[in-house]
């Protein structure tokens, strides 16, 4: 998605609005807020937000930093959730091992689907990922261990490190918080790595990157696999939090939702997807009283976002900061 108004706050860096120190302070404040949040806000809601924020951030690695619109990311979220749920519930695995297994399965799935999908780019890529995700959906409907339409219910949370039971209100939250921070760090590291720079060049101008000798497809595939794996981590953790896994997580609406979160928060920004996840999950939670209007409202948000607001909240904020230097 080159030249589409992706705004990176590099001008802010140049202008001295963002300095390494301020950045460190910002992240520290955010991390602190995250650690204190469950005392102020309903923890299950927060955990949901964290999982979706990780999911959206992983997705953004593709859309925002590689320029690939995957319209089937729910496949990774959901498959990991199912596998983790099954491992914990039926095989009685420790929590961490179950989550790792789910993540691993999503990664392998990412390798397969990604390997096929990156043969086409742009809009075809989007449609192909959507198609494969739909295939995963149908498989999930039919495989016996997923519980089909009824879902996989009653997943035990188990104990963190085999010691701390995760049943309580706060233990689970901090477990999820740690997972989120780890996942988020991996994404942050990837974005700001030599590899991340190549990805960005691919996003900006794919033929040019190719002509510079970069085997573009391989970079895309690695990015896709990382993204799928982290989406899987989010899904696996979510299954443990909510103690069930259902078809919702593999449905294409979910894939659309993560696009919305990323778009709304600001694609190609580090914090954007998390902000978007917060907004979307909050909307779904607190507007649920409006019944079917929620779908309409989300649709309108989508349309307005695409037409007038392509930088997303974080992107627009960065732009405002730029126009009004502090």
């Amino acid at each position: 998605m080159s030249g589409t108004g992706i705004h990176e706050p590099r001008t802010l860096i140049r202008m001295g609005v963002i300095t390494p120190r301020r950045k460190a302070i910002f992240f520290a404040v955010m991390a602190g807020l995250g650690a204190l949040a469950p005392f102020a806000v309903y923890p299950v809601f927060l955990m949901n937000v964290l999982c979706m924020a990780l999911f959206a951030s992983a997705f953004n690695l593709l859309l925002g930093y590689t320029g690939l619109l995957s319209f089937g990311h729910a496949a990774f979220l959901g498959s990991a959730g199912y596998v983790t749920g099954h491992a914990l519930k039926v095989w009685g695995w420790p929590t961490e091992a179950g989550i790792l297994l789910g993540t691993l399965v999503a990664t392998v799935l990412g390798l397969v689907i990604g390997g096929l999908a990156i043969r086409r780019s742009g809009i075809y890529f989007a449609m192909i990922t959507l198609g494969f995700a739909q295939m995963i959906y149908f498989v999930a409907v039919q495989l016996p261990f997923t519980g089909g339409e009824d879902g996989l219910q009653g997943i035990p949370r188990g104990k963190a490190l085999g010691l701390f039971p995760l049943e309580g209100r706060y233990a689970m939250y901090y477990f999820v918080y740690v997972v989120f921070l780890l996942g988020f760090y991996v994404i942050y590291r990837t974005i700001h790595s030599p590899f991340g720079h190549v990805l960005r060049s691919i996003r900006e101008n794919e033929p040019r990157a190719l002509s510079l000798g970069y085997d573009v497809d391989r970079y895309k595939l690695v990015a896709f696999v990382i993204s799928a794996g982290l989406a899987g981590l989010a899904g696996a953790t979510k299954a443990v939090v909510l103690q069930f896994e259902t078809l919702t997580d593999v449905h294409w609406h979910k894939s659309g939702e993560v696009v919305l979160m990323t778009l709304l928060g600001g694609m190609g920004t580090v914090m954007g997807p998390s902000a978007g996840a917060l907004i979307v999950v909050a909307m779904e939670n607190y507007l649920s009283g409006f019944g079917d209007w929620v779908t309409v409202i989300i649709g309108c948000v989508f349309v307005v976002g695409v037409l007038a607001f392509r930088r997303g909240f974080v992107g627009e904020a960065a732009r405002l900061l730029k126009s009004f230097p502090i």
Binding site: H197, Y214, R218
Partner: protein
């Protein structure tokens, strides 16, 4: 003949669903020369470029680069062997800074391009070389400018600097002066001349004065086939070439 010619094509052909875009093109590009590919619109010049750099697969024919058949190789591999192209539309990375543009090209040789776990601070070692290259194209003052904000002619210069970063043996320039003002054209021509030292350049160009000024040899394409080949003075008098140009004005 092998050593004299860095690039040879034999019977290069490309069809799309029954439409023949390139029809049996034989090209021979002499090492160290500036070779121009000209022809009216739709003559298949860009398609030839795409075939040479393997962005498209030829329907038939062979491409030999440095004595090696590269007809079946992948585009990135071709680039790594020193054949690097530029594009018809200025090909920079618009939202990266000027320095980052060049750095991306330099970065490959570090061998850390897949290292997603490493900090990008490890790329700082490249800045010195990047600055040298930018200085070579008079862009040292623009290092921190985001490429999209550069004026058009400067973008071309940036593109050339990026290409040079790969230390190519054969540069393929696709209409390097297209859409430029008079002053910019002069600067780019100078630049091309400067960087051609020790390299081979194959370019597609519409501006015939640029072609006359720069190139040692010319190949004229029309309707996918080679119409004439030789030095500019010779080719420009060829009646078939004149007809092709007059028959299909730009």
């Amino acid at each position: 003949m092998g050593d004299d010619f860095i690039l040879i094509t034999e019977g290069l052909r490309k069809e799309y669903m029954g439409f023949v875009a390139v029809n049996g093109v034989d090209l021979q590009v002499r090492r160290g020369s500036i070779h121009a590919l000209i022809g009216p619109n739709g003559a298949g010049k860009t398609t030839v470029f795409n075939l040479l750099t393997r962005f498209q697969a030829p329907t038939a024919g062979r491409i030999v680069y440095k004595g090696r058949d590269i007809t079946r190789e992948r585009p990135a591999d071709v680039a790594r062997q020193g054949m690097v192209r530029s594009f018809q539309i200025s090909a920079v990375f618009p939202n990266l800074t000027v320095r980052e543009n060049v750095r991306v090209a330099l970065q490959r040789k570090l061998g850390t391009s897949f290292h997603f776990w490493k900090s990008d601070a490890s790329l700082r070692v490249l800045h010195e070389r990047a600055e040298e290259l930018l200085a070579a194209v008079d862009l040292e003052a623009y290092q921190d400018t985001v490429a999209v904000e550069l004026p058009y002619g400067r973008k071309r210069a940036l593109e050339i600097a990026t290409t040079l970063a790969l230390e190519p043996e054969l540069m393929l320039l696709d209409e390097p002066t297209q859409g430029m003002g008079h002053e910019d054209v002069g600067r780019v021509v100078e630049l091309i001349r400067r960087v051609s030292a020790g390299r081979t350049i194959l370019m597609v160009e519409h501006n015939l004065s640029v072609v006359a000024n720069l190139s040692h040899r010319i190949t004229v394409l029309a309707r996918g086939s080679v119409l004439a080949e030789g030095p500019y003075a010779e080719v420009s008098k060829d009646p078939a070439v004149l007809e092709a140009y007059i028959g299909a004005p730009e």
